[in-house]
Amino acid sequence: MTTGFFTDTTLCIGCKACEVACKQWNELPSDGFRFTGDSYDNTSELSGTSWRHVAFIEQTSVDQRGIHNRWLMSSDVCKHCTNAGCLEACPTGAIVRNEFGSVFIQPDVCNGCGYCVVSCPFGVVDLIEKFDPEGYRYNLASIVEERREDQQTALQGNGGVAGKCTLCYDRQKLGFVPACAKACPTESIQFGNVDELRERARARVESLVERGVGAELYGADDIGGGIGSLNAFFLLTERPEAYNLPAQPVLPSTRQPAGYASAALAVLGLAVAGWMIFRND
């Protein structure tokens, strides 16, 4: 059975319970105190140690009756793509698709090369700077406030591993609902069989549209670019870019045939030139 998330952003109240539950269950370290000034969002983005991220979008509209505000909140997460760029790119086989159809990183196999980081069309995967297989799952004592500044030196000295949402693989194995979905007080995050979730999502869009709310699904069907559908999809009331989601993502490996073919052409041309130059005395 393929499981996934349906994140209905119209129900999100921005409580960040999902972020907290995720950090607690997965023993993810703090990212340090930062005040961004970007509405109520101090998490800013998904990272190796933040696997749920609640986005806050404040919008203003003006008409003859005055100024109106609306507030959009959306809990972002790894999309667990049908064709996952990170999984295809991983040279060690650390990234696998598990029995629940989710994309899972095995931290003991990951060698921290960072190729998955640049191969995710959604910018989800990132590196955690230290991983200590003997001690804690993540070496908490090593995490300091200047994480971002230290990231590169720490990575080179100790080697990091890639981190992202596991769709609570361990909880699913026990028959539990992922921590974020369990903690969500409004059922904005719904967990279940992806096919059922899609049907539920379509019905929800219909009822919203009937009531005059502009809503559409992001990733419930084939999103294009070779990625296919997303196991974690969203109901949005604004264009995807507003939530920092790509309107037209592309699966990186679709560029490989053109790359290898054109390189072969260059090799052939230069080999012929070389043969003519070296043969000719």
Partner: protein
């Protein structure tokens, strides 16, 4: 009357709204070690072709062949070390040898490097056995097909360093799905020619330097035309690479002093008969400039990729 804006609507002159100007993608954490790995990988690939082209019946070319083989083996031995310095711990390199994944240029590239090292090592044994440094019977251990095999593996090594970048979600790298792999091959060969001709000058093997320089000119010309076409083709995706301080650096060190200047020097060398010491200096300068240009090209590619990933708008619509 005031302008009427509805929710989420953008004024006529405003660009696409972003999420607090925060980038959508993560920038690569790749530093000098990855740049050097790709640079040396390109040279290794070019040397693979050169050791095939050099004719065993010609004494000068035989010496070039020996030089190319030994140099390629040295580079093939150095590259895993550079990769390990990037990964942090030696045993992490071995994790890549668990599997072969055809969809991953990184995986194929590591296997390419491993097999290339094997072929280069075998060809060095063959070379030394033929030359009399090693016992002659050893050459029978290395079949003749190892020579074209090293060239073929070299072609792959030089190619994948480009595909590795172009087959990612990075908007700039992705926009060069044809140009970056081709330019990587051209730059790899021109750098290999430059390195070999510098070594040949040191060995006093001047006649073969002419041939290397001619091939280097062809590769450099191809690289130049690719870069010029890439600038037009990449459009706004190419901005981090072609504009600003980085664009200036690219034009100075890769295009002007890395391609045009060595081409002019090599052209002078092939048309005017200079006194030997002057010619040696001319050739060495051209080689060094080409190598610096090749390194700066790889460095610019990586650094521009970081800037492209940090652009909050570039990845909304990703290049096909």
């Amino acid at each position: 009357m005031t302008d009427i804006l509805t929710f989420g609507e953008v004024g006529p002159q405003e660009p696409t709204p972003t999420y607090y100007e925060r980038p959508l993608l993560k920038a690569p954490h790749w530093e000098w070690n990855v740049v050097t790995y790709l640079f040396l990988g390109g040279i290794m690939g070019g040397l693979g072709l050169l050791q095939l082209l050099a004719d065993a019946n010609d004494e000068d070319e035989r010496r070039l062949r020996a030089t190319a083989r030994v140099t390629s083996l040295v580079l093939a031995a150095a590259n895993p070390g550079i990769l390990i310095s990037h990964l942090g711990r030696p045993e992490r390199f071995l994790n890549m040898l668990r599997i072969v994944k055809f969809k991953s240029p990184m995986s194929l590239g590591v296997w390419g490097l491993v097999f290339y090292s094997g072929a280069a090592g075998a060809n060095v044994i063959r070379e030394l056995a033929q030359g009399g440094t090693l016992p002659g019977w050893l050459r029978h251990l290395v079949p003749a097909f190892f020579v074209p095999l090293q060239a073929l593996l070299g072609a792959f090594t030089a190619s994948y360093t480009g595909v590795l970048l172009s087959a990612t979600a990075n908007p700039f790298w992705g926009s060069g799905k044809v140009h970056i792999p081709m330019a990587s091959v051209c730059s790899g060969l021109s750098s290999a020619c430059a390195l070999s001709s510098a070594l040949c000058v040191v060995q006093g093997n001047h006649r073969v330097v002419r041939k290397l320089e001619r091939l280097e000119m062809v590769a450099a010309l191809a690289e130049l035309s690719l870069l010029l076409h890439f600038e037009k083709h990449a459009g706004h995706y190419g901005k981090p690479f072609f504009t600003g301080a980085r664009g200036k650096r690219l034009r100075t060190y890769t295009i002007a002093t890395g391609i045009l200047a060595p081409m002019a020097l090599n052209l002078v060398g092939s048309m005017v008969r200079l006194p030997k010491p002057v010619d040696a200096v001319r050739s060495t300068v051209a080689s060094v400039l080409t190598l610096v240009g090749g390194y700066i090209l790889r460095e610019s590619l990586i650094e521009a990729g970081k800037d492209s990933a940090r652009d909050p708008r570039a990845a909304f619509v990703q290049p096909r």
